[in-house]
């Protein structure tokens, strides 16, 4: 079964992108602010989904801990916003510190006074943390289900740490960003939210092209090789540890960017970003959209989340059942996800089943000019 490299009609791809870009441009005028804000949040989630597709769809590493890197990016952004907006509070430090009797800013907050530092920290810190965790795990040849469990355990460690540190980062309450100021404007204001929507849309497309570039050519082929037969990669002379660490680190960086964008648009970052179900949902978006397709990860993240908000408004409390059902449906009926099914033989097989398209009569091994055709 092929999960990637399927030839997809260029015209379809092109027209799809034209429509999508047109929609992004028109969105602020078409959608009410509330909906626009939701769409912006879901688009930012598609960046973390791209990372999940890189590590899971291409490299076969099922991480259930992407929430760590997502939250780290969110915290970096929120710390900067809180600290730049704290001039009228006691000791010139964010307001919440006063609740716990903290008078001096914890040392690790200091660098976040700089917008320059924050800009890099948002993606470099999660990438470094991911690289470190990844290297230790991959070097010890932990893979498969053990890798998944380990990432989930790390997630819980981070969750409990952030949840318990009131005096450092406001613990379970998280850090609010919507009433903070950025460049003289309120972050939660309508005009700022519109700008965040544009930035998010541009970054989603940039991240998509970046991910495409990463998986193109021999580097991407090695990732697929690691997914399909890691020992073979090793005996060919490649060190899988380095490649896995790099791609896990890239996915961590993408998660950080995603988390920062999500934070400024939802108005708060809290340890809730590091709960177990949320990280599993990220995997579901990619599974439903289509593993190893990149575009499927983006579409999966946006559509599932949009469906989630629509369904939750109409039928509260029913979403979990629908999401579970969707996951089961995809795993059993569309193992390659919706986009994987479309790019593969799915539509043709469906048409053939109902007699709407003629079956292909050639047998693959009976090709012309094939001297070895009689092997099997």
């Amino acid at each position: 079964m092929s999960l990637s490299k399927i030839k997809f009609d260029k015209k379809i791809v092109l027209s799809f992108w034209i429509i999508l870009i047109a929609l992004i441009i028109a969105a602020p005028t078409l959608l009410p602010v509330f909906r626009l804000n939701l769409l912006g949040r879901y688009l930012s989630l598609s960046i973390v989904a791209l990372g999940v597709d890189l590590i899971w769809g291409y490299t076969g590493l099922l991480s259930l801990g992407q929430g760590i890197f997502f939250a780290l990016g969110g915290y970096c952004a929120a710390m900067y916003l809180q600290i730049t907006s704290s001039s009228e509070f006691p000791n010139n430090i964010p307001e919440f510190f006063a609740l716990y009797g903290v008078e001096k800013l914890p040392f690790f907050w200091e660098p976040f006074r700089s917008p320059f530092f924050t800009f890099f920290a948002i993606w470099i810190i999660p990438a470094l943390v991911a690289g470190l965790i990844g290297f230790l795990v991959f070097r010890n040849r932990i893979k498969g289900v053990y890798f998944s469990i380990l990432t989930q355990a790390s997630l819980l460690v981070f969750f409990n740490f952030f949840n318990g540190q009131q005096k450092l980062i406001n613990g379970t309450n998280g850090l609010k960003t919507d009433v903070t100021q950025l460049f003289g404007q309120m972050v939660g204001s309508e005009s700022m939210q519109r700008i965040f929507f544009w930035i998010t849309a541009i970054l989603v497309i940039a991240a998509w092209f970046f991910a495409k570039w990463v998986v193109k050519g021999r580097f991407g082929n090695i990732l697929i090789g690691i997914r399909d037969d890691e020992p073979r990669v090793r005996f060919t002379g490649y060190n899988p540890v380095i490649f896995k660490t790099i791609i896990f680190s890239i996915a961590g960086g993408l998660a950080g960017i995603s988390g920062a964008l999500y934070t400024v648009q939802s108005g708060i970052v809290s340890p809730q970003f590091m709960t177990v179900p949320f990280s599993i949902e990220m995997v579901i978006w990619v599974a439903v959209g289509g593993r190893g397709t990149l575009l499927g990860a983006i579409l999966g993240a946006v559509f599932i989340n949009y469906a989630k908000s629509l369904v939750s408004e109409a039928l509260p409390a029913s979403w979990m059942f629908i999401q579970g059902g969707l996951f089961i449906l995809v795993v059993t009926a569309l193992p390659e996800g919706v986009l994987g099914w479309i790019q593969g033989d799915g539509p043709r097989n469906l048409l053939q089943r109902y007699g709407l398209k003629r079956k292909i009569e050639t047998y693959p091994s009976l090709e012309v000019n094939n001297k070895e055709g009689n092997n099997e």
Binding site: I224, E372, N375
Partner: protein, 249 residues
Amino acid sequence: MNNKDLLNLIDITVSFEGFLALNKLNLNLKKGELRAVIGPNGAGKTTFLDVITGKVKPTNGEVIFKGKSLVGRKEHKIARLGVGRKFQSPRIFENLTVKENLELSVTTPKSPLNLINKNIKDEQLNEIDRLMNIVNLAQKVDSKAGSLSHGQKQWLEIAMLVGQKPDLMLVDEPVAGLTDEETDLTADLLKSLSGENTVVVIDHDMEFIRRLDSNVSVLNQGTVLCEGTMETIQKDKKVIDVYLGRPEE
């Protein structure tokens, strides 16, 4: 041991929880030699390859390749030193095309920085063309390796092995599941590779081994029972007892 030897296995013992897969095995290979290794099931043939390629660490003994010890080195480091391996059942990257498979094998250096550069060197492209012609896969360049027939997969893996330019090629059952014609072609291919390369072939197929026309080592119960030409070993009483069976009276 002398300086012309490419590989020396000295008293190799591998114990899997008390079971001796290899028992004080000694084997020396000269540069450019073609060597066949045969033996009944469970004789330790595949473990012998696992020890050389670093997959299994010997409990005791020493592996010297080009004057360096291989024991304790990682698989990919041993591969880079010049040991290539073909597996028993064809292990190729089925989701990649024939060309992409070969690209991964001929690429040097095998570092992430080199791979992220999207342009492969011209001489490596020429090498890929040459390899595809040798193994008759030129028309299949852009086919998924998974869509190839069993024989073509075997040959693609041999081509990938050659593409790595190893000094020592370890080939595990290259003709399993091949037609007679393909078996003959494979034997010729391996013979043509020796001389420039050192090749070790493991197989059960006596006809195939005979065609290789090389020195043969017979393994039994983890140790070398006998070494020599096909004629010598066929007359050896110990070999007849454990492996060939007595000729029908």
